[in-house]
Amino acid sequence: MDTSFAHKIRELRNKKGWSVRDLATELSTTAGYVSKIEARGEIPSPEMIIKLAELLGTKPGELIEIAKAEKAREVSQAVQQKYDDGLTLYRRSKKR
């Protein structure tokens, strides 16, 4: 099951029967910005998350928790990547 922030927003918006453009109008932003959140997985600012929760009829706390978990996942992946890159470099230098 997809537990991402993007998926949650898409699900709530569909439940409301809104299109991407409808949500953008309600948020006073562009459809491109909503695309960034739903299709590119961008996490918006806390203020925007609260606004989204109010509009989509959910608790802000729930959305913030999902956003936090996703950010933590991203950071952990980035750290893991750096560690792997470092290890590869170290092994290469050892071979020489």
Partner: protein, 260 residues
């Protein structure tokens, strides 16, 4: 095994007209100036038009492996989920086929065939695209489904009018390029002269496509060469001197934007 549904027959002209309409909508969203200055990037078009209008999701995080014939699956479209998948392996290897596969899955299968595929989604859960499918560019009699997706994708990713605009801008040309047969050609690109031996018409198109591809979000030179051939090349020596319509129409578009 369930057979692919047959899409209704469409001529190349009809597909290009559909692609042009979508392209005009994109221009309406972002403006000509933005496109001329930044080129065409898949992510920009997806964000500004394709996702808001069609809600097709693009996922590049999965390894898709190979099909039953052992061919690498480049992309996949899931009609029920309205999701296009691009093989992560392509991205990791900086494969030049990546960008066209994105256009092919999202626009070709997701938009052009979207409705037909969703109607059949109870039987057909996914569509794979391999190199063989991408190669059906000129062979519409072999696989109508993939051919339509390819033509539509190419005309969204590199519309002829934009190819012609970029040709005027980058090569400082005011007329179509005249192919006079195999021989040495000099291409003046961004103020620098490049001298090539060109062996065939296809090779000329490929060279022009290669030089322009950075304005098309990394679309491969091979894919661009089809559009270059249609948009800016003339191989008819008799007719070429009368091709002033091209310069007149497109030159006016560019000049009125005051960008060159």
């Amino acid at each position: 095994m369930y057979q692919l549904p047959q899409p209704k027959a469409m001529s190349q002209k009809q597909i290009v007209a559909q692609a042009d309409n979508l392209w005009k909508e994109y221009i309406k969203e972002v403006g000509w100036r933005y496109v001329i200055e930044n080129g065409i990037k898949f992510d920009d078009v997806h964000e500004a038009l394709l996702y808001p209008k069609y809600e097709i999701i693009l996922d590049k995080n999965e390894y898709l492996g190979e099909d039953d014939c052992g061919e690498l699956i480049l992309g996949q479209f899931l009609p029920r989920e309205k999701t296009a998948l691009i093989n992560k392996q392509l991205l990791e290897n900086n494969d030049p086929r990546t960008v066209f596969t994105e256009w092919h899955e999202v626009c070709g299968h997701g938009i052009l065939h979207g409705e037909l595929l969703r109607k059949n989604s109870h039987k057909l859960t996914r569509i794979n695209s391999t190199q063989k499918d991408i190669d059906t560019f000129l062979k519409h009699f072999e696989n109508r489904f993939e051919w339509q997706a390819n033509v539509f994708a190419a005309n969204i990713g590199a519309p002829r009018v934009f190819v012609a605009c970029m040709y005027i801008k980058l090569f400082s040309m005011r007329h179509r390029f005249l192919y006079r047969g195999a021989g040495n050609y000099t291409l003046s690109f961004c103020g620098r002269d490049f001298r090539f031996y060109i062996g065939s018409l296809n090779e000329l198109c490929w060279q022009i496509g290669r030089l322009m591809k950075h304005r098309f979000g990394g679309l491969s030179a091979e894919c661009l060469s089809y559009q270059v051939l249609d948009a800016v090349i003339d191989s008819d020596i008799e007719r070429a001197p009368n091709q002033c319509d091209f310069a007149h129409q497109l030159g006016n578009v560019i000049e009125s934007m005051n960008i060159l």
